[in-house]
Symmetry: C2
Subunit: 236 residues, 2 copies
């Protein structure tokens, strides 16, 4: 299935530019995925050096966002894309904004470790299952983006319910922890913020799914839910 229709352009140069910018998104996505994976591993291993490296490298993701954004604006001005080409550029502009915010989450988790280096350890372990699930969502949505695969995007979209359930259970666990020993409240709140941030990664992956659907189907499915979403996505 050649959703990209890249063969149709008269300008081979335009093809190359679109292909390059798509590849840059995937490189950026790979970097963000690595940072999130490293951040969760740093929690597991209580590895402060790893956490410091993650905090120190967030600027790379930011720089990539700005560069890809500029390239997209340049393509619009120079190539005046329409129809699916324009949708692709718009989908890219929105996708990189989500990826940048996911990179911020990795940084925030890493900072939680470095800021609490000498304090008693809160129950960080409860973040692991949720963390693994969101990393898988991010990995799969980047894969769907690479192939502009509608079905894969819909599958990732539906995974977020599980992240939400994980999150609810983490919150209940942390709440019990605080109520049993109120002295832990400041440390546990840090874990709560991290849990919230990880939960938001699932939402952001859902947004990227919506941009893939927008590109493939030409329909804006944001803010639709349940039957309305299914109908919009399935209509030919």
């Amino acid at each position: 299935m050649d959703n990209m229709n890249l063969g149709k352009h008269i300008s081979g140069q335009f093809n190359t530019e679109l292909e390059n910018v798509r590849n840059q998104v995937l490189v950026m996505g790979g970097l963000v995925e690595q940072q999130l994976t490293d951040a969760l591993a740093a929690i597991h291993d209580q590895d402060l050096d790893a956490a410091r490296r993650i905090v120190g490298s967030d600027h790379k993701v930011n720089a990539m966002e700005v560069a890809i954004d500029e390239e997209c604006t340049r393509i619009i001005a120079k190539r005046q894309p329409t129809a699916s080409d324009l949708r692709l550029v718009m989908a890219i502009i929105k996708t990189i904004a989500e990826l940048e915010r996911i990179g911020d989450v990795a940084e925030r988790i890493a900072r939680m470790l470095t800021d609490n280096a000498n304090k008693p350890q809160p129950p960080l372990v409860s973040l692991e299952s949720m963390g693994r699930r969101t990393i898988k969502m991010l990995h799969d949505v980047l894969d769907a983006f690479a192939r502009m695969d509608l079905d894969a995007a819909i599958a990732v979209y539906q995974e977020d319910d599980k992240v939400d359930r994980d999150y609810e259970s983490v919150i209940r666990e942390l709440m019990t922890y605080m109520m049993e020993d109120p002295r832990t409240i400041p440390q546990v709140l840090n874990v709560l913020w991290a849990a919230r941030a990880i939960e938001r990664v699932g939402d952001r992956c859902q947004h990227i799914c919506e941009y893939i659907i927008y590109f493939v189907k030409g329909k804006d499915v944001r803010h639709t839910k349940g039957d309305e979403f299914t109908n919009l996505v399935n209509k030919p």
Copy 2:
């Protein structure tokens, strides 16, 4: 100061379209500002009916975002804008995404009230000063957007430090509250989420400032801080 350079277009119709879409952004912004104001008033007055109305009207903001987004893509495809016209369209696309998320914050605050209708009241009062300050930031950034006023945008940008300080103080207050009476933890956590959401409104207003600066100066100042930010903004 005519930053808009609207007079330069050969096509009067194009002028009208750009002017219309800018006006729609201001209408959307006004609606979001009203919802945030109403949500904070509902907290103050413990007004559940008002809170339910806010929850019920978030779809209006969502629909406006989708409509303006579509109109921007249509303008790009049909009018093939370049230079400052293209920057204006890009700034609009990004601004409405921030406004939509600010609308979500109003909804979340309202839901916190409706979901906890019959439970003991947590110390909601601590959100007021912070809430007032972020509403003022939102009002002022919309005003700066209407006039594409660089100096006004920079002034709003700098206000966020005060919101951050308010937020820190709210968090400390709520933490003390929980430690003194751990039975209140579930309710107080709701207030914490609301405080966090309001603090994020300040960040989102800063993002809109960055889009105004991008339009006026043609420079992407995201992810720059301190001297680097000042230098980029002040360079001719």
